[in-house]
Symmetry: C2
Subunit: 354 residues, 2 copies
């Protein structure tokens, strides 16, 4: 079965060129089962396609004449810029012309357009953005990182259910352990929201690991970390900043090591040895970068909307776009939303029966 | 002028041995201007002192027969365990027998004992814990990381004032830029607490840098980052977990480089060269570790209480304890609390006049 993915080709810091390039790469990698609809200004996208070797790639342009900028206020922009690329892309899924959407554009506009155009899945209260933290011993799905900054306990429980299914169906974790991000393990810890949410999770049929602390995300303490969107967004950006900072320090350290070695060649360190060290350190750095690189995640799924939506990082390059497209294809093929609907229903039934 | 510091010798994962060792090291480093009161079980502390070379170090034991454990509920423990080491240490400052307290024990008990025994400075609404983030281009004082999880805008403004003075008087930043940790720069971003606090900071006479995002802490975007205690505590522990995780990955990468080099000696890489690379990488790793090592910070000041209180990390070793003692000495000598009192008064005056 061929999967059709609508790509918001105008969204992102490096759109449209990197988005178009990544789309063509993704389409080439799946010639038999992937079709892409590039949504955006036709002239502009045609020019971008001409610039890359796109012949034979299964891509098609769908016109959209407006673009919502990264700095635009989502609600205002959606109202004023009718027919924007993100809106048209969502409509393609709503109308059954595409199986999934990906966008590296304005996150708030993606959430709003997804929620308004696609609607929520039955009984789902709020959509949530999930991201995958990869530096620890295994990947951890963190939800919500910014879709909903006024979350209620019931909404957080639904986030746990949805992210748990994502971990099972897309990442392949058999029985994901769900933790609630808090300031201590004890039940009396945290804000009133955290306490009420912990009680709700404890009563639920989820594989609940209890309250977790920030360190546990990186120590294998859980497979899913639930938090409200304000906290999740700050945590995501703090992690991004710290990782960026430590990698720069590591790179500087490695360069210093190579310089010192090169300067001490009279002490029996050959030029060949210096080249070898340089190569090995470059390899080690690339491996590390891969552990924290957002472009490897394949973007952040917006869970809870009635359609597959992936929000890619604003700075996405072609590789990140291609990975986001592949993840959206996997989500569509795994029929994740059907599983979410069934599970959310089962949990509501349980609640009513109890 | 000699400074007297009361040390909660029973507090911390590695108490009393590392605490006693660190205290003796600190006292030896400042033979003329530092006197330490080790608070705890006399038999136990005498044995610890005998085990280290303490002759000539200006330390004295002050008996306390109870110990509040790391897992104890702070309020319950303070009520049931009368005369605990942390309580006696606070009393020494209250009674003018010591100029500062340091403890690596139960954080909640430190905050509660500090607030109850010492009281708050005039007009200060709530005490806040500040920590110093060091990986970025310059240190950043983050406040509050867990003393107060139901903060109000006025309390957050006072945190900004107090941490700003800490940055000026203790770290030496001339005019600290204060940022409010939020999910975007725009004034309409964030929770209702964030919006109200941003408005209050904007009107204030602080050098306010506006809303900041998590990445800014590590990119030189501010000198002080203000947030409420739940958020700050999670951010602190996420940073700790991520740094620990990335450093382990760096270390493994460096070891792999050395192993690969050693295995390829037939290719013209001498044993001497391998040894040199190993040494250089170990040095680079140590430098990196120093950038994220909590033991270098010298602990977290509890700002707003009527006395100098430093909360050291629960895992503190001797070096961390010695650094915490030195920072508490600097805070006492700089008369930080007098400056805080004056500044808080000036800000209230301003508000009343306006």
């Amino acid at each position: 079965m061929a999967c059709t993915v609508a790509v918001d080709a105008m969204g992102g810091d490096r759109a449209p060129s990197e988005v178009v390039l990544g789309s063509v790469q993704a389409a080439r990698a799946h010639p038999d089962d992937l079709r892409l609809l590039l949504v955006g200004k036709p002239d502009c996208l045609e020019a971008e396609l001409r610039a890359v070797e796109w012949k034979g790639a299964n891509v098609e342009i769908v016109p959209a004449h407006e673009v919502i900028g990264m700095g635009d206020s989502p609600i205002v922009a959606l109202r004023k810029k009718k027919g924007s690329s993100i809106e048209i892309a969502m409509n393609l899924v709503r109308d059954g012309r595409a199986d999934a959407v990906i966008s590296a554009g304005n996150t708030g506009a993606c959430v709003a357009a997804g929620t308004i155009r696609l609607g929520l899945l039955p009984e789902v209260r709020r959509a949530g953005i999930a991201v995958i933290f990869t530096p620890g011993p295994q990947p951890v799905v963190a939800i919500d990182v910014g879709a909903n900054i006024n979350a209620k306990p019931e909404q957080l429980l639904q986030y746990g259910i949805m992210a748990s299914l994502y971990a099972r169906k897309i990442i392949g974790v058999e029985s994901p352990r769900v933790g609630l991000l808090n300031i201590g393990e004890e039940v009396e810890k945290g804000t009133s929201l955290a306490k009420a949410t912990n009680a709700l999770f404890t009563e639920s049929a989820l594989n609940y690991a209890g309250n977790i602390e920030g360190v546990d995300i990186f120590r294998g303490g859980c497979d899913v970390a639930v938090c409200e969107g304000f906290l999740g967004n700050v945590v995501l950006k703090v992690s991004e900043g710290l990782a960026e900072c430590l990698l720069r320090l590591f790179k500087e350290g490695a360069e210093r090591v190579v310089r010192e070695l090169a300067a001490s060649q009279e002490d029996g360190v050959s030029e060949q040895a210096v080249a070898k060290v340089q190569q090995a350190l470059t390899g080690a750095l690339a491996g590390l970068l891969g552990k924290v690189d957002y472009s490897e995640f394949g973007g952040a799924p917006l869970l809870g909307v009635n359609g597959v939506v992936i929000i890619a990082h604003g700075r996405s390059d072609a590789k990140a776009i291609a990975n986001a497209i592949h993840v959206s294809q996997r989500m569509a093929e795994a029929d994740l939303n059907r599983h979410i609907t069934e599970e959310i229903r089962a949990f509501s039934g349980q609640k009513e029966a109890s």
